[in-house]
């Protein structure tokens, strides 16, 4: 199971071209705009302006998906979170949205926000359970 990343893009929803370009960047690990543009134009049926690729990659950077470094007079772009972490974040986001609109009437959870307690109380409860377990072990 992939842990949730510390960094989280501001906007998890992506347009089709954004998603396609992000996939290319995941494949190549680190890219220039030219790398991405060449990869898309490798398909003879495709047409896409160089400037459009630049615009999309800047937008992905603004949304928090990419990091951009300037080295040797060329901008190089890297993903800020891995493909797996992105997948995890999307699932997590879906679950949170689902829980946000679900009421306890039709969602009978094992433990929900109503069961969350202060740390002091949680410690007290843990000690109580441990005491019962110790008592049980002594008796057996």
């Amino acid at each position: 199971m992939v842990p949730l990343p510390d960094h989280r893009p501001q906007n998890l929803s992506l347009g089709p071209l954004e998603a396609e370009i992000l996939e290319i960047i995941y494949d190549l690990k680190e890219v220039t705009v030219k790398d991405v543009h060449d990869r898309i134009l490798a398909d003879p049926d495709r047409e896409l302006a160089y400037a459009s690729v630049t615009t999309v990659m800047r937008r992905l950077t603004r949304k928090g998906w990419l990091d951009c470094d300037k080295a040797d007079r060329a901008f190089r772009w890297r993903p800020r979170i891995s493909r797996e972490q992105a997948q995890m974040l999307k699932s997590h986001d879906r679950l949170q949205r689902f829980l946000a609109v679900s009421s306890p009437d039709v969602v009978a959870a094992f433990a929900d926000s109503l069961d969350v307690d202060s740390l002091d109380r949680l410690d007290a409860i843990a000690q109580r359970i441990q005491a019962v377990r110790r008592q049980r072990e002594e008796q057996s």
Binding site: M88, Q96, V101, A111, L122, I129
Partner: protein
């Protein structure tokens, strides 16, 4: 006359909430008499709605016979009755749509079997498990919970969820939830609702404790609550440091004390609710 009937129904509903609910018993909860607490809680939540519904139906059916409907108080009672009926209908439709939305959302997740229980797995690292739906709810578990708990603790959690399924909690609480939302303007609605939700969990815990070690279940519950991933936005709760024991403390206490309430509403409860039909009895005598 009809307006008087409505005012009487409102007064009875208010009186029922104020008088029939011993606030002390909710604010300083004890594990004694859970069955009584369950039954009186349901009655205090449901009876005002049923009484207002039967009164509205009675007023409308009498008004429909052409008696002074379009004059003063007659018109007011007629409009009030329609208002309540339409509120009830819109609340029912809204909750039904929400239920349908939840079930449709779940269908996107793969169905599989865990320890012999058919369930849907959500590919998420958070710790969550629930029965979701109505009469036939679906068990829903996150991958995070499967990874986090060992076999015995997972079995304890699944036994708890099985309790919700056996008691059809999602179905009954769908209706109780409608009553709760329709009576938010009456006193103690929130207290009653929260208390019934807690009793529902205590009952499911008790069901699980018949099949698994209750200490293991208590530890699983604490483990899931304490997991760091629970501090996500939707699980943030306002912590109160007031004197009464928290919901979690009550659940753990009930487990450790071996409290096994069946919490049966039963025919006794239904009979205690029968008086809400009284407004309908005046319809045949209406001239």
């Amino acid at each position: 006359m009809h307006l008087l009937m409505i005012l009487m129904a409102l007064a009875i509903a208010l009186g029922l909430r104020q008088g029939n609910l011993n606030r002390q018993s909710v604010q300083t909860p004890s594990l004694a008499n859970l069955d009584q607490r369950w039954r009186s809680g349901i009655i205090a939540l449901v009876a005002p709605v049923l009484l207002l519904l039967t009164t509205a139906i009675a007023v409308l059916s009498m008004g429909a016979q052409g008696q002074m409907v379009w004059q003063g108080t007659g018109l007011a009672s007629y409009l009030l009755s329609w208002l309540f009926l339409l509120s009830t209908l819109s609340c029912f439709i809204r909750q039904s749509l929400q239920l349908r939305h939840a079930v449709i959302q779940l269908r996107r997740y793969p169905q599989t079997e865990v320890l012999g229980h058919p369930c849907r797995i959500i590919d998420d690292s958070g710790l969550f498990s629930a029965q979701v739906g109505g009469w036939q709810p679906q068990l829903t578990i996150t991958q995070g919970l499967l990874d986090h708990l060992d076999g015995d603790r997972l079995a304890a959690v699944l036994a708890h969820e099985d309790g919700h399924r056996v008691y059809r909690d999602t179905f009954w609480f769908f209706w109780l939830g409608i009553c709760y939302r329709l009576t938010l303007w009456l006193p103690h609605s929130d207290l009653l609702w929260q208390d019934l939700l807690l009793l529902r969990e205590i009952r499911a815990d008790a069901w699980a404790a018949q099949q698994v070690d209750e200490l293991l279940l208590a530890e699983s519950l604490l483990d899931v609550i304490r997991a760091p991933l629970r501090s996500t936005a939707s699980f943030e709760a306002a912590f109160s440091c007031t004197a009464p024991p928290s919901r979690l403390e009550q659940r753990i206490e009930a487990l450790l004390c071996g409290t096994h309430p069946g919490l049966n509403f039963g025919w006794q409860g239904v009979l205690q609710l029968a008086w809400v039909l009284l407004p309908l009895t005046v319809v045949p005598f209406h001239q």
